[in-house]
Symmetry: C2
Subunit: 325 residues, 2 copies
């Protein structure tokens, strides 16, 4: 087994079907952290898990459910894509600590504390005042640490990131975001947060979502790779991966669902400053799951050290996950 060639995308939100799985499989992907829900409540989230369990069963010749990090190696060995379940919000656990274990037992391995807005656990990146991690948030982090569920700080506020990095007994992840030094955005991350994250062996998955990129959908591969070099120089080469945030095969109303959920009767345009209600145009060099393989080659072509490029394309994520499940 060529253990170097582990390709892991640390976050995607794809409306999968057999055809898309076949293409991703042909592209050599090893594992994907898949977003199951954003605003869904407990019952709706359990149904989403049912849906995904069925999706995996129906395509079990080419994909499999990852519950342990060693399952990723099994996926590699058996030539399948490993699917890791994640929630981009804590809405599914509402105010109930006991639901963390319930969802863990169903295979959940990543959970964000917040999605843009405040939750009972913590502050979101779009809030005027970020509470940081709340009393309940601390209890949930302890429980996630105990179980081996990764605390994901994407879409969290700055203070929440700092609090969680400090409080968590296990390293935390920001599965999909970029440094603010590359592109200033509410969703991107300040240098000091990145440094504190890395000091505690925390992880950042770099995002390809257009609003997180310099020049959005026109971002050049070269600029993105320059950012990677600068980031490696800042926090080292071990705590960086890809969390492409690819959103594929969804109708446009889904991006409005992601922004508005059930929390407002008015329209919130989220990251779109020009009030665009459609999906933003992806970069040409990373627009579908199977592009990770080409992107790996792209990193090398743009002068990123080959060993580092392979680490960023998957091995780092695998090592990080080994600390948790």
């Amino acid at each position: 087994m060529d253990m170097d060639n582990i390709l892991i995308d640390g976050l995607e939100y794809v409306n999968w079907n057999r055809d898309l799985f076949i293409k991703a499989h042909a592209g050599g992907l090893t594992a994907i952290h898949a977003t199951l829900v954003y605003w869904e409540d407990t019952k709706e989230s359990l149904k989403k898990i049912d849906y995904w369990d069925n999706l995996i069963q129906s395509n079990s010749d080419i994909i499999m459910h990852v519950k342990k990090s060693s399952d990723i190696l099994d996926a590699k060995k058996t030539n399948k894509i490993g699917i890791i379940y994640g929630f981009q919000n804590s809405a599914p656990i509402a105010n109930d600590i006991f639901l963390v274990e319930k969802f863990f037992s169903r295979g959940l391995r990543f959970m964000q504390l917040t999605y843009n807005n405040q939750t009972s656990l913590a502050g979101g990146c779009y809030e005027k005042n970020d509470s940081g991690v709340s009393r309940f948030g601390e209890m949930v982090i302890e429980e996630m640490n105990r179980l081996g569920m990764i605390v994901d700080l994407s879409h969290a506020g700055r203070q929440t990131c700092l609090d969680a990095i400090k409080f968590s007994k296990k390293p935390v992840a920001i599965s999909h975001a970029n440094p603010n030094f590359f592109h200033q955005s509410i969703r991107n991350i300040d240098d000091d947060v990145l440094k504190q994250l890395a000091n505690k062996n925390g992880f950042i998955g770099l995002s390809l979502y257009p609003y997180h990129l310099k020049n959005h959908g026109d971002c050049k591969l070269e600029d993105f790779c320059d950012m990677i070099k600068q980031l490696v120089n800042m926090i080292g080469e071990d705590n960086i991966g890809i969390g492409s945030d690819l959103c594929v095969n969804w109708p446009n109303d889904v991006v409005m669902w992601m922004r508005n959920g059930k929390w407002t009767k008015k329209i919130d345009y989220g990251e779109s400053k020009d009030k665009n209600a459609n999906w933003p145009k992806p970069v040409s060099w990373y627009s579908k799951p199977e592009d990770l393989s080409n992107f790996l080659m792209g990193m090398i072509s743009k002068g990123i050290n080959e060993k580092i490029a392979y680490k960023i394309a998957g091995k780092n994520w695998l090592n990080f996950m080994k600390n948790h499940f």
Copy 2:
């Protein structure tokens, strides 16, 4: 009809039965704001409303459900106790703005934004960092204003109180708490918050819960009445009522439920500094719902102007509710 003699308790948490209703009825109560839930989720809360609807139907000779403030006058006319439904938390609406109207249509007329802990709407009084009112919190307050549901800031943090007082287009209530000048407590209220509350015609219901009182269960009627005089002097006589916070006929494990809900696996003792897991001993002069009538006489006997005493015992609450429903 003797309209002076309107007796309203602005918050009670009683495990009612026929016998307790008969006693409260004999004691001349006009209306009670009854707490239905603390930590219950949407489904559990809808079941609690079913339970209460049935309780009211089963005792319809002496109690009735208040949906409009004019129902309180009907209760008075027909010699019944009016029951006003309230939630001591926003857990029932989770992150769903549309549930506010659903619960309103079932008769809910008071809802707290928080119960001690942070919610997706706002910060609780026990949080280290109070977020104030969140993005979702503002949407919910607008919706409550539109429908005529009273925003209750009991158990909220200081910043949340200030934010909500400022943001709400209709006057808000703190249904059960006391001034910190009387007894310093996390649950009680600072002078400047009380003044800003009253400046916007907001309301405070004074609490008889032992932990909110000087000398707790040994608090003297005289001291409580002196506090009232001082408060009237500070914010005027119109925005003050009683929210006794009487907890009657519950086993001791219910006080632990109120404190711990589902948010922690450890034990949190809440307001009990000596880690008492039982209900605190109530004051002798206000230990059951029907004591409001005696307390009214007690206020007068301790030198509170008779007109003011009657207002505090019920008329003020009625006038405040008229602004909402």
